[in-house]
């Protein structure tokens, strides 16, 4: 059973999280970008210390663990970015961390998690339930389970990216953000952005065949990815289903999303390399891929979230070295 809390994520919680995050990391850059002649913005979350936005939710969750529970540590389950966010926060707070991680996770993510002092428990992505393994570990040790997206503090933490965008726009004399296009796995980031910026449209972007959130939004109930989903380069977005805490928010606020192909993703990674001088992992390039492919509307109020850049060198070299 997956532990849960009855605490609801709120905009007040996002704002409190934003104050906590501002104490530990500077805002990531919000950069102007013209796509097909239209000006929009990108938020470079790949430039976070752990190479992904997940440091936000990880820090917000771990820093709120009661003092008496800290010594027993935390357990997370993640293909690698949430893992690094949790491991980074745990190291800084002096807590032990264990990460349940699929055995096909990119080496760079596993290496970074180990370098941050966390212990990795591997599992088989499609045949084992990572959350169940994590919950079992917590029962044994009394550690706190930190869900990758179905957690109120995590959602509020991810939403701080939206608070930053709003503040950065205001500093430049621009009106409030009107649209976020964001990579979507379980819906932690998209739900957080929806809370942070209640007036903005939220468009989730999922890999082809892993569009459970979009299908759920259309169906009006939580649906899972099929039992035999296609392969995708987006390791960070391979979540099997969103959770009620995320879906309750997204159902009220998000547009049904769009899907991108691995080819769209590679195009976006090459564009980021050659034009933006940014390294993006496949999942981190999903929103940019959707914009470049003309699959989402963009305008001067739109921010594309570049969510992460943790990609193995060989794979990245192959992508930028080819043109397909």
């Amino acid at each position: 059973m997956i532990p849960h809390d009855d605490r609801k994520p709120t905009i007040e919680g996002v704002l409190a999280a934003a104050r906590r995050i501002a104490e530990i990391v500077p805002p990531t850059p919000l950069l102007p970008l013209e796509i097909h002649g239209t000006q929009c913005f990108i938020k470079a979350e790949n430039l976070q210390p752990v190479g992904a936005f997940k440091i936000r939710g990880g820090w917000n969750r771990l820093s709120q663990i009661p003092a008496e529970d800290m010594a027993r540590g935390v357990v997370g389950a993640s293909s690698g970015n949430h893992a690094q966010g949790v491991a980074w926060a745990a190291k800084r707070l002096g807590m032990p961390a264990t990460i349940v991680m699929p055995n096909d996770a990119p080496a760079v993510k596993a290496d970074n998690v180990r370098a941050l002092g966390a212990t990795i428990v591997p599992y088989e992505r499609l045949s084992e339930d990572r959350d169940a393994i994590a919950a079992s570990l917590c029962e044994q040790t009394g550690a706190t389970f930190v869900h990758a997206y179905g957690d109120s503090w995590v959602i509020e933490g991810q939403g701080t990216a939206g608070v930053e965008v709003a503040a950065q726009r205001a500093e430049r004399g621009l009106p409030a953000p009107t649209r976020f296009v964001a990579p979507c796995g379980g819906g932690g980031l998209t739900a957080g952005l929806a809370l942070a910026c209640p007036e903005a449209e939220i468009i989730p972007v999922e890999p082809e065949g892993w569009d459970d959130v979009t299908r759920s939004l259309i169906a009006g109930e939580i649906l899972s990815v099929g039992s035999n989903p296609p392969s995708t380069s987006c390791d960070a977005l391979q979540t099997l289903a969103t959770r009620p805490i995320n879906f309750d928010i997204l159902q009220r606020r998000a547009s049904p999303g769009v899907t991108v192909t691995d080819r769209d993703i590679r195009e976006a990674q090459r564009f980021a390399f050659s034009r933006l001088k940014l390294v993006l992992e496949p999942g981190g390039a999903a929103a940019l891929a959707a914009a470049l492919a003309g699959k989402v509307p963009i305008d001067a109020g739109t921010t594309l979230i570049l969510s992460g850049g943790n990609v193995d060198a060989q794979g990245f070299a192959a992508v930028i070295g080819s043109a397909d």
Copy 2:
């Protein structure tokens, strides 16, 4: 003969340039970075619209050309980054631009210059004098020659990177910058930083065998690189000699610099890829390379300038795909 002006670059000129630059591009990110356990900062000039800091000097120079001279256009000579800065500014100002560019320049740089609407005149890097070719073109057409570094407005423009760093530090409650480590070709950036931040130490970093500025600083007079310099990956830093307008400033302000090897550069490019999620061209990685190799002192007052990211995909793929 190379045209020159008697106008001296000044800190007031740098501050005026900073106001002009602020109107057209947002500040590039100043990001914290820990190297060998010591905290310092990096200034990500590779994230400029043309992928390099040269947009600063290009814009500052071209925007000051008298109205009656604008229609006759500009001529620049550059391996590609100054070229793009000039071409970008010329396009925005509606001026024709011609760039004298070595025939071994990275394809990405030539492509970008053409995409910005400029005309390229190729030359042989080691046997022809690019400045003489450019000067001759100007005599024929009446175009304004924009030297890549030996120009007061260009120097003042490049110095605006230092103004931004000082402002970004102040916004975060940090004291004024005390040291800049910067890639050095002809000395436009280093001279500009020296003017912008009169209290800061300036350390130029040059490729091995192309350390004419360091040798000049030690000798107390301008020396050229030897007649048969070694090959270097740093196409952007292959200038044969600095010029009096730069040297006069550097002699008063800069420490004799340090040199980095192509191997140091590759290490820095890989570090930027895997840890910073930033794409750096060889020359743009020189200051980071010096810091990683322990060749320069760093501390919390130190900023390493990451000066550019215009690198061909095949070459970059080869660097990140290997470990040497």
